[in-house]
């Protein structure tokens, strides 16, 4: 699946039947600091990812 990170960079990651939350955590990010959008629709982070998905991560807080 394609993951678009908050800073705009993209990466292809094998979903292997895992939740988006598990994939986010694997990237060293805290899922609580992000919202997840799939094909323009917000989805909960415990959604199981598909290989064909395009996932955008939206950062919810700034600064610090």
């Amino acid at each position: 699946m394609k993951i678009i990170f908050p800073d705009g960079h993209e990466r292809e990651i094998a979903s292997r039947g895992r939740t988006i939350e598990a994939i986010i955590q694997e990237q060293g990010l805290n899922p609580l600091e992000l919202l997840v959008s799939r094909d323009g629709e917000i989805i909960p982070e415990d959604t199981i990812g598909n290989e064909s998905d395009s996932i955008r991560l939206i950062r919810i807080s700034h600064g610090g």
Binding site: I42, P44, T47, I58, G63
Partner: protein, 308 residues
Amino acid sequence: MEGKPVCSHCSGRAVYLDRESGTHLCSQHLKESVQARVLNRIIQEKPLPDKFGVAFSGGKDSTALLAVLVALKEKIPSRLIALTVDEGIGGYREETIRHARDVCSRLNVEHRIITFPDLFGLSLDDFMKNSSRKACTICGILRRRALEVLADQEGVHLLATGHNQDDHAQTTLMNAFSADIKKVFAGSGRTSQFARRIKPFAAVSEREVTLYAILSDLFIDLPECPYASDAFRGEVRRLLNRFEQEHPGSMRNLAHAEEEIRSRLKGKVQLQPLENCKVCGWSGSGEICQVCTVLKEQKNKNNSSTGQ
């Protein structure tokens, strides 16, 4: 649930997972849940004034707050007015002010803007030239005054801010780290001169607030303030987010703890009485208020640079 979690209330498509209860919410039920908590906060403020002010920066929190209050307008009889302070921060504030104007126009909310140059003669950028003080310190002092002046001009006696549950929990922990009990009571209404402040999002998480703005089609990824550098709050935020992830509900409990302390110690903590500033006459702590101190420092700086 293969790929598509559904709402625990209506079987609609879920947009949000409540990690504490393990339930999912669709767009409509998430919005209703946020609105119910905001309404619960607001109806505690009795009597509600004719005019209800919202401190409106144009950022996601105050944008979501305005959207919630507009959605609740049949349950809140007060007239809404959005109050914005333009500090004068080049390359950043123009866009957020534009967004603020656009949101008010779309939501049909009355909007007033006050600027630092109008009130203090200088923008924040001007204040920061050759300044040894932190921008956030100066901005915080001046912005608070600007908002008080604007509220006073507009006859606003109740002012809602967009502070959310995460902000509240962070502040609670920061106050605990500093062990300064007075901070817990700061701004808790020692005078009738200022508009009373309320935080309708105090029981709504930052994620829910952001989601509300997105689902209302009002969220845009705005630029970050170039002066934003509150490293300590950032550290506390990361720590709490990590803790919340492992122990869902911690953030809410921490935010609630300070309210409990405030409520149980109400009237028992002796606060220093406010004084009228000898320069501007505004209420504050000490003979000369912080705003006049900042303005005096600026004047001295200008005089020394012109050799006066």
